[in-house]
């Protein structure tokens, strides 16, 4: 960007205004041509043009031509929200060989045409564009801030997504460190036996992935590691990590399982994972520097409430993960499935447990929240389990209770078709009319399931069953401490919130912070790996280049005015962005405010408190604001005025 020669704009500013129709989004409410005609009267405006889609190539070309021909030297585009297209148009300026910061954006869609109608809409649009044009006349060229990037990625979480992200980066020639809070690598996937729909054994998948990670010299792994301190910015993050023996009993089951497995470090232990290193004997602190940080903190399975579908009340009601583990540990042979010594003639499976909860219809979970989302993987997992049971234990009948069968993925619809062929009996229930589980006293089957079945036109159906398996959903792991330390957003669903759910799913709002796998949303293993690789490719773009360029909209101290009051430092919201520094002015040692541009948020809190008006945000100075306000309240340019 900085290599191109930027012609210096003339001091008075020749402002070009470009107004977008947005294919009717704007022009249906705003008289775009009238806006153009009126803003031509604003001092400094030399041209005002319109286009159907200013963001399209021909639209951008209009601007570039005017800049190249010297007709204009400052640009205002009036279109949609700047969050969509400000960068697009700044890049157009760069292509014209002009500094990208002599640009101002006016929002005529979200702030005008989508909320106002008729003449008022056109008037408001005109005022906003006039204000932007007045400010544009005062803009000066700025230089982006260039930050060197530490050639290293830190990945938080040692499940499949974290492992995959680290391996991708390592194989691309970039160093990565995995931080895992438990003593084990492998995350939730280690708690499975085979993967739906294609049946890959977890032991094989896990062994392949983990051994590749552990073998690779570019990957460092820390288990029993917790992030205690976090600071910095893209390119220069600093993490303080404590490695300590686990406290509490969270990992006892897995450690005990590892102990009796007879397996060594680096080997996969079913339903525990891989211990890459011994549990540390004492507390140890590690400080890591990183150019990017990837969150891969994963998920946990939903824990049914006491009494939900009889869970916790009847021992014959279990979750799908419990079922999978039980069958793996006590394999059952013969025509009838044996569960804990009992033959299971009839097995009920219930979908959407802890998923698709509707406020006002379903009860709140312990903790007062609801999981309104679909957990995505349970339908496939449940039908996969159903098929395996039907195919190896033909005398075990399966009753499947569902709301919608969501076998969306490749090879999944086949699971559904196969389940029907295998004689799985499906019952569909409406939200709020969940199957009722009760104790069955009158028959050999211990439980009774009662449901109103939509598939048979609302018939009340009761069935005696031997076992109930609940398809429990996914919940984001509780990472409140990280969210707090890193100042990253959680969505209403308590998963981490990406920048844009459609186009930027693996990026977090702070630059250089990325998302991999199920901390963002429920996914299956293949999908998690895709998001992990996707996060890795974004990390690689930063790390391989070795530097990042940031917008220069940061505070700037006018040393001729600064009195060293320190008010700005106190008001500053970003730790370390403003400090008082000793310096020599006119042979005198004084303390003056100093800005760290890479940390400054450009929020302007310092500007408001400075008693000497000595601090300003570049590109958003007080003088520029005053001009905008003057122009917004002026009527000079309105027709008929």
């Amino acid at each position: 960007m900085s290599e191109k020669k930027h012609p210096e704009p003339t001091s008075e500013g020749k402002v070009g205004v470009y107004v977008c129709y947005c294919g009717g989004n704007i022009s249906d409410q705003v008289d775009v041509e009238k806006v153009c005609a009126q803003v031509r009267k604003v001092p400094g405006v030399v041209v005002a043009r319109s286009n159907m889609f200013m963001c399209s190539d021909p639209g951008q070309e209009l601007i570039i031509e005017d800049l190249k021909n010297g007709v204009v030297d400052r640009v205002v585009v009036a279109s949609c929200s700047p969050s969509l297209h400000e960068t697009t148009f700044r890049q157009a300026l760069v292509r014209a060989g002009v500094n990208p910061y002599v640009y101002e954006h006016a929002n005529l869609r979200e702030q005008v045409s989508w909320v106002h109608h008729g003449a008022e809409a056109t008037e408001k649009a005109t005022r906003l564009v006039a204000a932007a044009a007045a400010k544009a006349g005062m803009l000066n060229p700025l230089k982006p801030i260039r930050v060197e990037a530490k050639p290293h990625a830190v990945i938080i979480g040692g499940g499949v997504s974290g492992l995959k992200t680290a391996l991708e980066l390592a194989e691309r020639g970039l160093a990565a460190t995995i931080l895992e809070k438990s003593p084990f690598l492998g995350g939730q996937v280690a708690n499975l036996e085979t993967l739906a729909p294609t049946g890959e054994p977890v032991a094989e998948v896990m062994t392949e992935l983990v051994s590749a990670v552990l073998r690779h010299p570019a990957v460092t792994v820390h288990t029993c590691a917790q992030v205690e301190g976090f600071e910095g910015y893209v390119g220069n993050f600093k993490l303080t990590v404590a490695k300590a023996p686990p406290t509490g009993s969270e990992f006892d089951d897995r450690l005990e399982r590892a102990g009796r497995s007879g397996k060594g470090l680096g080997e996969f232990i079913p339903f525990a994972g891989v211990m890459p290193q011994a549990v540390p004997s004492g507390r140890e602190e590690v400080v890591l520097e990183a150019g990017v940080v990837v969150l891969a903190t994963g998920f946990r399975t939903y824990q049914p409430r006491q009494g939900e579908y009889g869970y916790g009340e009847f021992p014959e009601v279990i979750t799908l993960p419990q079922f999978i583990r039980g069958l793996a540990e006590n394999p059952s042979t013969g025509d009838t499935l044996i569960w804990q010594g009992r033959p299971i003639k009839r097995l009920a499976m219930i979908h959407c447990v802890g998923s698709r909860q509707i406020p006002g219809v379903h009860e709140e979970n312990d903790g007062g929240y609801q999981n309104e989302y679909c957990s995505r993987t349970c339908c496939g997992a449940m039908l996969y389990a159903a098929n395996r049971i039907r195919e190896s234990h033909p005398k075990t009948h399966i009753l499947d209770f569902y709301r919608d069968i969501r076998t969306y993925g490749r090879g999944q619809e086949e699971l559904y078709t196969q389940a029907a062929k295998n004689g799985v009996l499906f019952f569909r229930f409406e939200a709020g009319e969940e199957p009722q589980i009760s104790k069955n006293t009158g028959s050999a089957h211990p439980l009774q399931v009662k449901v109103r079945d939509v598939l048979t036109f609302g018939e009340e159906i009761e069935a005696a069953v031997d076992l109930v398996v609940l398809a429990v959903g996914q919940e984001a792991n509780d990472i409140a401490d990280l969210v707090d330390k890193m100042k990253i957003p959680l969505g209403a669903d308590r998963f981490l919130q990406e920048v844009h759910p459609k186009l930027r799913p693996v990026e977090l709002p702070p630059a250089g912070m990325l998302l991999a796998g199920n901390c963002q949303a429920p996914f299956d293993v293949g999908e998690s790996c895709a998001t992990a690789s996707s996060a890795a490719v974004k990390a690689a773009a930063i790390l391989a280049r070795g530097y990042v360029e940031l917008d220069p909209f940061v505070a700037e101290v006018d040393l001729s005015k600064c009195q060293g009051s320190g008010a700005c430092v106190e008001a500053c919201l970003a730790d370390g962005a403003l400090t008082m520094a000793e310096m020599e002015i006119d042979g005198q040692k004084v303390r003056r405010a100093q800005v760290n541009p890479a940390l400054c948020l450009g929020c302007g809190a310092c500007v408001a408190v400075c008693p000497a008006n000595a601090i300003n945000i570049q590109g958003w100075t007080l003088a520029q604001y005053e001009t905008m306000v003057d122009m917004i309240v002026s009527n000079d340019y309105l027709e008929g005025a």
Binding site: R172, R410, G526
Partner: protein
Amino acid sequence: MASPAALHFDALVLGGGIAGLEAALNLADQDFSVAIVEKDASIGGKMIRLSKVFPTLDCASCITTPKMAAAAHHPNITIFTYCELQSLNRRGDGLTAAIRQKPRYVDQVKCIGCRQCEYACPVLVSDPEQGGFSARKAIYIPFSNAIPQIALMDTENCILCGRCAKACPTQAVNYFQEAEDFTLTADTAVLATGFEVTPLEDKVQYGQGQIPNVITAMQMERLLAPHGPYNRVLRPYDGMEPDSVAFIQCAGSRDASLGVPYCSRVCCMYTIKQAMLLSGSLPLADITVYYMDIRAFGKGYEQFFQNAQAMGINFVKGKVAYLDQGDSGAVQVRYESQEADGGVQTAEHDLVVLALGKLPGWQPGEVCPVSLGPDHFIKTVKPKLAPTLTDLEGVFVAGAAAGPKDIVDSIAEAGAAAMEASKYLAARKPAFQALKAAS
């Protein structure tokens, strides 16, 4: 736009839809050189043709154009549009692609996209870009935000009147232009060949496109788009504003009789989106969705579905058996209801929208020795740990080319394919090996 010649790139991306653009940008941002080869006259794929996207209701044009522009202006990306891949093979250490530049009958270098030819052309042809609901000329720019802005001639309909050639200020119109073949070599390739919609003509029970006022979901996208054919939602048969609109789910998917036994993964969500947009533009209309299962599985999708129900959109569980022409342009929908007392019922709607499914956008056939899955989409050999790997070394797949997929899943996969391609390139390039040794 480079002129066709023998060219070498680090990576070849086949397809300029959202998956291809994302893959190309991710590679280019690592300073690899990338060629995008696109069969259509513009990049942007299916996404640029949509009205809005679920569940954010972002205007599709508004979020696709930045990606298109970013790729078009990236110093490391070269785009070849209106090109047909003749062959893609591994030759020695790299990949060789034989490509045919189809004739636009307009010189790509001379054309400045001014549209004078289009304005001068006297021929009106039904415009597939607008669902066939409005007309375009026989020489035209594909659509308003197409990239590149280069005209092309529809020789099927051109009457050779010569007006376009006279109107063109740069003498770009060339009636004698011929296809040009060129070869492109690359170290790695990403197949992002996307999808096509299942043909309406295949389903006898739904009228094979012969019943008036039965339209496809892609046509509904155009009716709802801000720059669509009518600027409002009207039924095409008689221009009436429909009071009652029905959406038929799984009209081209989960149907063995069509050879499409799989779920197309996006239809439930785009239907819910269209129903919501429709209730915005026609607040008094009754909207009914006939469905088998609502598959709102992605992030925020279930909540979107619940919102649609709260807005009063009527969801009816039942597979539609057949459609028939009703009185005064109405459509009769015969279905087996699974609600209330059940039974076979008939309902009448003013307009019916078929949620057609997805078919592979490209059949490699003799062109490229990459294998297909039983669903005819490109086969992935390691669907769990490396979901973008094909059975051809150095060739990766992204987006709907490897099975139906929505935009965000395509974006994730495109990133993954680009990562695989970058690793493949890094392993072969001395400069990157040095970096590796240093780390």
